[in-house]
């Protein structure tokens, strides 16, 4: 019994680790597609581009970056609504 148990356990651990690794790689890959344009947007707005690295935080990271850009005063200036 112990042999079978450890055999099955090792399988589950192996598969679990693989799935976690794939999820991590997938998350970073997708985050890169968000980080690059967001970095440029942050720089053009006058913020440090590193704020875009918040995309690496799962679930809420993107919202934090958007909130900074949406509700913070842009150091490089903003367009007023009447400037089109």
């Amino acid at each position: 019994m112990p042999d079978t148990f450890y055999y099955v356990l090792s399988w589950f651990l192996g598969i679990g680790s693989f799935v976690l690794l794939m999820l991590l790689i997938g998350h970073i890959f997708i985050a890169l597609f968000l980080i690059i344009p967001t970095w440029r947007i942050c720089v053009r707005a006058g913020f440090a581009g590193a704020w875009s690295l918040l995309h690496l935080i799962p679930m809420i990271g993107s919202f934090i970056v958007m909130a900074i850009l949406a509700f913070g005063d842009w150091p490089n200036g903003e367009a007023t609504p009447d400037s089109g």
Binding site: P37, R40, A45, A79, P81, S83
Partner: protein
């Protein structure tokens, strides 16, 4: 069994509620962000709402890239404003909202107007010398690789210089430079100037580089 189904439905309902709140929040923030860049707010809202459609997140992702690298109306308005600004006017005038300036400081002491001009000197790739002089008689001067067609054109006849390449703005004793997106690029004392940076004050700058031509800035 019934409890399990109820728990499952509750979980789905809760997730949907969170998703709805997140969607509304993202749409609102996207509206504000694109408005600050000078675009209509509904474009940001629409880009976020596209995630509800069959195209999923691909199109909003593409739109995010386009938004990041496109020319923003905010920058175009800043360049136009700087070019049209009369001598002596500050950069805060116009439509774009500049960072708040301290209001408690007393006005600067009045001084006699500095009527001296500027000169840009350097060497072209073929070894020929170039020397360009300009002053406050015009508020805007165009640096171009083409032969001078207007009195305010400053010709730098080099293949690496764009047609036009950059705009010089004179406001009293201050001098500004805006890159117009030429492929050769513009450097101010070695620092890259991009079109989206808008006009930059180069009054105390020593050298500017247009494409492959380095020009030394000095007062006449």
């Amino acid at each position: 069994m019934g409890t399990g189904i109820a728990a499952l439905l509750g979980l789905v309902g809760l997730s949907s509620a969170f998703a709805l709140v997140a969607l509304v929040l993202a749409a609102w923030m996207a509206w504000r962000i694109v408005e600050k860049a000078g675009l209509p707010g509904w474009t940001g809202l629409g880009a976020v709402l596209l995630t509800l459609t069959a195209v999923g997140t691909i199109v909003p992702l593409v739109l995010l890239w386009i938004f990041a690298f496109m020319r923003w109306p905010r920058d175009a308005a800043a360049v136009t404003r700087a070019a049209a600004a009369p001598a002596g006017s500050g950069p805060a005038a116009g439509t774009a909202r500049a960072p708040a300036a301290p209001s408690a400081l007393p006005p600067p002491p009045k001084a006699l107007a500095d009527a001296r001009g500027w000169t840009l000197t350097g060497k072209l790739a073929d070894g020929a010398a170039v020397s360009l002089s300009f002053d406050a008689s015009s508020s805007a001067w165009m640096l171009t690789g083409a032969p001078a067609a207007q009195p305010t054109d400053l010709s730098v006849p080099d293949p690496s210089v764009g047609w036009p390449h950059a705009r010089l703005m004179v406001a009293g004793a201050r001098l500004g430079l805006a890159d117009l997106g030429s492929a050769g690029g513009t450097l101010i004392d070695g620092a890259r100037l991009l079109p989206e940076h808008g006009p930059r004050d180069i009054t105390s700058v020593r050298t500017i580089r247009l494409g492959g031509v380095e020009l030394t800035l000095s007062r006449l």
